[in-house]
């Protein structure tokens, strides 16, 4: 049995959809800062936002309009991914620098890590648990 050429296999892989990201997730990632700025300090109305995304053709994994819950989950994952990417790209703080040693540092509790607060740090509402964690389900009569 003839084996497919390596190039063909790679080409087939290249034709697969980009990772597991949905059109909505891709859009959120590309416009992370702008979207975050607009949602800052607000209690997002995910029903209204989902309608806006749907009208713009930004769909979920199955190509359907994203539900409010799906949109919220996508935004939560996008925020976490962007924060992680920015944190890893940040240059490490030089512990010998004067800026790092001239201020009194609070005692560090065992088992906890602290780092300087930056503008890119999560907003207070980011402390929300992941949207898919408290997935309260719709009940059904037995």
């Amino acid at each position: 049995m003839a084996r497919p050429e390596t190039d063909e296999v790679l080409a087939a892989i290249d034709r697969l959809p980009t990772g597991s990201r949905t059109p909505l997730s891709r859009w959120m990632r590309e416009h992370h800062d702008a979207l975050r700025e607009r949602l800052q300090g607000k209690q997002p109305d995910w029903t209204a936002l989902a309608k806006i995304f749907a009208s713009a053709g930004l769909t979920d994994r199955s190509g359907k309009p994203a539900s409010p819950g799906t949109a919220r989950a996508a935004w939560w994952r996008t925020r976490k991914a962007v924060e992680a990417a920015r944190a890893s790209a940040r240059p490490p703080v030089d512990p010998s620098s004067s800026a790092a040693t001239s201020v009194a540092r609070p005692a560090i509790r065992p088992g906890r890590q602290s780092r300087p607060v930056t503008p890119a740090d999560p907003l207070p509402e980011d402390d929300d648990p992941p949207p898919d964690k408290p997935a309260f389900r719709i009940g059904k009569l037995r």
């Binding site: 409010p68 309260f136 389900r137 059904k140 037995r142």
Partner: protein, 297 residues
């Protein structure tokens, strides 16, 4: 002969009956089998919540009818094509789970953890614009704790697009008013508040108003009614019938229609008991008619 015939023809064929015009009718009838309820002035229909997501909080002491009410509400909701999250704040109380799949409950019965769980559930319902029916359980303290942190909880829920609905189930004991008095005093006064008087807990040999006299004239009850709470009588279902329905884990409509739950072999209720359930369901529809729009859609 001719004379005889003449006499016969002059006799009246029918005699005139006694003159009854103006006579007072004598009341008749068998003695009542049940004590008739006194006519009471019905409050106006509750606030209209048609088309809105809502959170129904069933509040009251243990065995005051919360689960019965929510079971009925779940059936009505499903029957109308509505959907909701069903939640029981007391993980020890599994009665709602016997009738509804996917009932949400807190991970533990630790008071602080239950409060956090309730907080998350309310936030989730607000964000998803999803209705929820929550059985707060007899000894629940989570709502009280939440109100201590957020006395304006009802306003916050309204602002978040979720209509709060407080359903207080009450028996005739004056202590049954404890939650109502405390939560109203704490500032939790949703526009949609129902004071549900459970006739099943009253002495069936005396009028219901007499059984609930202490409740009806209590200042906490009257203050709630005066600010717009709706008073509702929860009709009495014959205890033996209610017990059989519960033992068989039947929905009320299945019990009425003599049906068995899908996939289970259960002897249907007898014809007489089905009739009792039919009447109870009719009474429920009548009594809860003013708050029909409070059910999830």
């Amino acid at each position: 002969m001719a004379q005889k015939l003449k006499t016969a023809t002059t006799l009246p064929l029918f005699r005139k009956g006694p003159d009854l015009d103006g006579e007072e009718e004598t009341p008749v009838g068998l003695p009542p089998a049940l004590v008739p309820s006194q006519a009471v002035e019905r409050p106006p229909a509750g606030v209209d919540l048609t088309g809105r997501p809502k959170v129904l909080l069933a509040i009251g002491p243990g065995r005051s009818g919360k689960t019965t009410l929510l079971r009925w509400a779940a059936e009505m909701t499903a029957n109308q094509g509505g959907q909701a999250i069903y939640a029981a704040a007391d993980p020890q109380n599994r009665s709602l789970k016997a009738y509804v799949d996917d009932v949400e409950e807190p991970p533990t019965n630790d008071a602080a953890a239950v409060t956090r769980w309730l907080d998350r559930l309310l936030r989730f319902a607000m964000e998803e614009k999803t209705s929820a029916l929550i059985d707060l359980g007899g000894g629940d303290t989570s709502l009280g704790r939440l109100l201590a942190e957020m006395p304006d909880l009802a306003t916050v829920l309204e602002a978040g697009g979720l209509a709060p609905v407080a359903l207080y189930t009450l028996g005739p004991r004056v202590d049954d008013l404890a939650s109502l008095a405390s939560f109203e005093a704490a500032g939790f006064r949703p526009a949609a508040t129902a004071l549900i008087l459970n006739e099943g807990l009253a002495d069936p040999t005396v009028p219901r108003e007499e059984s609930f006299a202490r409740i009806l004239r209590h200042s906490a009850f009257r203050a709630a009614v005066e600010r717009g709470a709706t008073m509702i009588w929860l009709p009495r279902l014959e205890p033996s019938v209610a017990a059989e329905i519960e033992a068989k884990r039947l929905h009320f409509m299945q019990a009425r229609d003599g049906q068995s739950p899908e996939g289970r072999r259960v002897t249907p209720l007898g014809l007489l008991d089905r009739s009792r359930v039919r009447r109870w369901l009719d009474l429920m529809a009548t009594e809860l008619g003013p708050v029909q729009s409070w059910l999830p859609t």
